[in-house]
């Protein structure tokens, strides 16, 4: 009879030594009890370590402070802006929806957009047989310089050319180079309402701050001002829709709160934010499966640690710089958010719902827009030059010491999360967290 492999211990998170540093008061007995549960040969008890609350975020989205459609007139997408630039006789040619592909082609022709496939064979659109430099191969790192060299070989405007569509093309468009197309940015409509979701990031109530839907004043969310009137952000900002949508399920974010002695009121807890190495799973209802286990991505850049407190069931944290995975369809644009704070409610059913406010770097935010590609932006009604100019104009955080220009923009992402477990030895825990 072959013996089974020797039983391995699952390494329980929330080891007593780590949790201990946050505990100073009455909770000691509960923690000692929890430690006792872990001593000896036993693995995690039912429910896991009672002083640790872990969540995996099923969705992270820009919350709309109002009902969808509150922005009475939507901002034109790039394609609509081009259409409006045409003389009436031209417009008549593209009036009906079935003429839309022709309109896109006209726009590309007018502005000299280029899209060069790097794969064998044509995948439609305006791909041409690419001339590739001799050193180029599938393994060549996709650097901006490499893209420009390929562009130069293929008649792109001087110094232009960027990798796009998951590095399968080299492109030049209003999304790769919005600065080249100021005409499209003209008249881009930003959000001018009085309310926005979010947090007061700078501790001041200024003239261009918003009022939150729950009445808090001084809310800093210039990013919403920039994108709040774009139709897809307006629609996808509806909490009811977002609650049923999984975003970045392939590469979710995990939040671990340790040292929790009282989930209603606890003056000091440790909060770690990780990138999971496992995807969110769906349950039988189609939502995020609760109480699943996640291995953690060991990359220390994806781990952040901070402190927080819970008052009347609401968790708030100190600011910390974050890098969150964001992989959704063809977009892989990690969100770099500086000075991020959390404000979240721990619900009785074990789930979490809250807000993550901070300064979204312009570079990482715009990357998520650029990665849609011109084609995707046209489909989603997004005006790339309009967005670029708006976020540049409205940026209000982290000025570059050399140029004095702001590099980040106040923003707010809302989230839903379900209970989860962390497993495995590989965790950002072993490396120095960024703080």
């Amino acid at each position: 009879m072959a013996p089974l492999h020797a039983p391995k211990r699952t390494s329980p998170r929330g080891r007593c030594d780590r949790g201990g540093r946050a505990i100073t008061r009455v909770g000691v007995i509960a923690v000692v009890g929890a430690c006792a549960l872990f001593s000896g040969a036993a693995d995690a008890p039912t429910g896991g370590d009672p002083t640790v609350r872990t969540f995996v975020l099923s969705t992270l989205y820009f919350a709309n402070p109002e009902e969808a459609g509150a922005c009475k007139v939507y901002a034109d997408g790039g394609l609509e802006a081009f259409y409006k630039m045409l003389p009436p006789a031209e417009q008549a040619k593209y009036a009906t929806p079935d003429r839309r592909p022709a309109l896109e082609a006209a726009m590309a022709a007018h502005f000299g957009f280029r899209r060069l496939s790097l794969q064998r064979g044509d995948f439609g659109g305006r791909a041409l047989q690419a001339k590739l430099p001799p050193w180029f191969s599938p393994e060549t790192p996709r650097t901006p310089e490499a893209a420009r060299e390929i562009g130069a070989l293929n008649g792109f405007p001087k110094g232009r050319g960027s990798f796009a569509y998951q590095n399968q093309t080299v492109a030049y468009s209003a999304c790769t180079n919005p600065e080249d197309f100021p005409a499209l940015a003209k008249g881009f409509k930003t959000y001018d309402g009085a309310r926005a979701a979010g947090l007061d990031l700078d501790g001041k109530v200024a003239r261009d701050d918003f009022v939150a839907p729950d009445g808090r004043r001084g809310v800093d969310n210039q990013l919403w001002r920039a994108i709040g009137c774009i139709k897809i952000f307006d629609e996808q900002g509806d909490a009811k829709v977002a609650a049923k949508t999984l975003i970045s399920a392939r590469a979710p974010t995990v939040i671990e709160i340790r040292g929790v002695t009282d989930p209603r009121n606890d003056p000091e807890v440790a909060v770690d934010i990780y990138a999971a190495a496992d995807p969110v799973l769906r349950d039988a209802r189609g939502g995020a499966l609760a109480r699943a286990s996640f291995a953690i991505d060991p990359n220390p850049r994806l781990h952040a640690a901070t402190r927080g407190k819970i008052v009347d069931g609401v968790l708030t944290t100190e600011p910390v710089d974050l890098l969150l995975n964001f992989r959704e369809q063809i977009v892989d644009a990690p969100r770099e958010i500086r000075g991020a704070r959390l404000r979240a409610v721990l619900k009785p059913d074990g789930s979490i719902e809250g807000t993550l406010g901070g300064y979204y770097t312009l570079r990482s935010f715009y990357s998520s827009v650029e990665q849609m590609t011109q084609n995707g932006a046209n489909l989603s009604g997004v005006n790339c030059p309009g967005v670029r100019r708006a976020i540049d104009r409205l940026a209000d955080g982290y000025p570059d010491p050399r140029t004095g220009r702001y590099t980040a923009i106040s923003s707010s992402l809302s989230f839903f999360g379900v209970p989860a477990f962390i497993i495995g030895e590989a965790g950002g825990r072993l490396a120095e967290p960024r703080s």
Partner: protein, 549 residues
């Protein structure tokens, strides 16, 4: 035949017909009263239909695991709680026959196809055997021994070989002819049924029948070449020879399959295949969960009872349980996503013992809620061997209040109504207090301490001994002598494929004592059953019109 003619015949013969039938009925009534109190049908166990699992295992053993067995099997019958007993009651219905023949033809087709024929047939027509008659004879004798679980007689081999050649001629292809014969053998009752043959003059069954018995008991599979050879040499008719084979089988890794098959039958784990839960109420219970739950229980059992040679009673208190990623969410613990591992719940944790495993809790519950009555009934019938009668049909359920009644917030309060009515209480007193002790586990087996914001009361008593919660109930079962006696009886019924009769009771007592003396080690019980000479007595011929012979 016109209707008028039929009517005439009826008029003429009708009265006689009726009289005849009436006589027969009267005679039958007499016979019935003469046998009142006896079970109407005296069950033998000399003809047992293969279960679907046994059929598949046999094909894999004889022809290799890459032969696909596709088709729908007639459902196996669970009788007195065991499929093994039901196997002695069922026969083959017309649609069942159709299906067996279909499955047989499919298997045969694969066995003779170009990819398999060299290995499985090993010969072909040609040279000195132009038609393939010798090839057919060899193949039939070799395969026949494995399929019929006994050597074929020469005339049987000749008849089947002749049939093969005839079929080959009609179909124009030797291999097609061989496939036709093979399909017939797989559809034959000698394959589909395990038939006990008497050993002439010895008062017991013959050695090939013994080989079948021990092989299906210990491996749930058809006897292998070595066992058949030992039977052929007469070794199984001597106690040391039988013991040697039994020990060989139990030392093999295949013994675990036999243990798994026994507990699958006893715990009714095959019903997990059909189990579904309401997706809205129990979203963590997904497609693969039921299968994982079944595998979990079987791995836990083999780990304790086979690998560690443990005490059967510890199944009710063990905190060591097999776990995989699909089950982690239901058990509310961290688990690696891939593969199986063993999880040890800490002392004092609510999970401890078989009764707190999802395979038990979810199986004996409704799609959207718990059922203390079903769980209590399962404990009584499966672990204590006590029969719980069916509810009377004219039950007035008006006293059982609806789920949304604001004054009766918990399941315990709602079920209390069962105990108000004496007619209901007589049975529900046996089941509900046990099931209510498990009420902290919902219909999918997930742990909770409150129901509609009321804390769940899990106190109860088992035949006078009180307990609080599932872990303590497990300890009560561990300490109850009836539990081990029930296991012995169940294993005995499984091995023998029938209910125990009056003259078996001594045997059961003996086995009981030996089991206790062996520290309740399950393997000791299996060995004792395999070596029990009483199982190998030739069945007495029982004829209802003449009394026992």
């Amino acid at each position: 035949m016109t209707a008028a003619l039929a009517a005439t015949r009826l008029r003429r013969w009708g009265p006689a017909l009726l009289a005849g039938v009436a006589l027969l009925l009267a005679g039958a009534a007499l016979l019935r009263t003469a046998w009142a109190g006896e079970p109407a049908e005296v069950l033998g166990s000399g003809l047992r239909r293969l279960t679907e699992a046994q059929y598949r295992a046999t094909v894999a053993d004889v022809f290799g695991p890459d032969i696909e067995v596709t088709g729908r099997f007639a459902p196996d019958l669970r009788s007195e709680g065991l499929l093994a007993v039901g196997a002695s009651r069922v026969s083959v219905t017309p649609s069942g026959m159709e299906q067996y023949e279909d499955i047989a033809r499919n298997v045969a087709r694969q066995v003779v196809d170009p990819a398999h024929r060299d290995k499985l047939l090993g010969c072909a027509p040609g040279g000195r055997d132009p038609q393939g008659l010798q090839c057919a004879k060899g193949f039939i004798a070799r395969i026949g021994l494995r399929l019929y679980r006994r050597p074929l007689m020469a005339r049987e081999v000749d008849a089947l070989a002749a049939s093969t050649i005839a079929s080959a001629q009609q179909l124009g292809d030797f291999h097609a002819g061989a496939a036709a014969t093979l399909a017939g053998m797989l559809a034959s009752p000698e394959f589909l049924f395990r038939i006990d043959a008497p050993a002439p003059g010895r008062g017991e069954i013959d050695s090939y029948s013994k080989a079948s018995r021990i092989s299906f008991l210990l491996w749930n599979a058809t006897p292998d070449d070595e066992l058949l050879a030992a039977a052929g040499r007469g070794e199984l008719d001597r106690p040391e020879g039988l013991a040697r084979q039994v020990d060989r089988l139990m030392a093999s890794p295949r013994y675990r399959a036999g243990v798994r098959a026994f507990f699958t039958d006893m715990l009714q784990l095959d019903e997990l295949d059909e189990l579904s839960k309401d997706a809205v109420i129990y979203p963590a219970f997904a497609g693969s969960t039921a299968e994982a739950a079944r595998e979990q229980t079987l791995r836990t059992i083999t780990d304790l009872l086979v690998d560690r040679g443990g005490d059967y009673r510890d199944l009710f208190t063990t905190r060591r349980i097999a776990m995989n990623g699909a089950l982690g969410p239901l058990y509310d613990i961290p688990v690696e996503r891939q593969g199986w591992r063993f999880h040890e719940f800490p002392s004092g944790d609510p999970r401890s013992g078989l009764l707190t495993q999802v395979s038990f809790l979810a199986l004996h519950a409704h799609p959207g809620r718990t059922s203390p009555t079903l769980r209590g009934k399962a404990i009584r019938e499966v672990f204590l061997c006590e029969k719980v009668p069916s509810p009377p049909a004219n039950v007035n359920f008006a006293v059982v209040q609806d789920v949304n009644n604001p004054t009766l917030r918990t399941t315990r309060e709602r079920l209390h109504a069962h105990l108000d009515d004496e007619e209901c209480a007589s049975c529900h007193r046996k089941t509900d207090p046990l099931g209510l002790g498990l009420e902290q586990f919902d219909g999918a087996g997930q742990f909770r301490t409150t129901e509609r914001e009321e804390p769940i009361d899990v106190t109860g008593e088992l035949d006078g001994r009180a307990f609080d919660g599932a872990a303590e109930l497990g300890r009560r079962l561990h300490d109850d002598a009836k539990v081990s006696a029930c296991l012995v009886k169940t294993a005995w019924r499984y091995a023998n494929g029938r209910e125990a009769r009056a003259d078996d009771l001594l045997d059961l007592d003996r086995l009981d004592e030996a089991f206790a003396a062996a520290g309740y080690r399950f393997s000791a019980l299996m060995r004792a059953l395999a070596l029990d000479p009483n199982s190998y007595r030739a069945p007495a011929e029982v004829h209802p019109l003449r009394g026992r012979s």
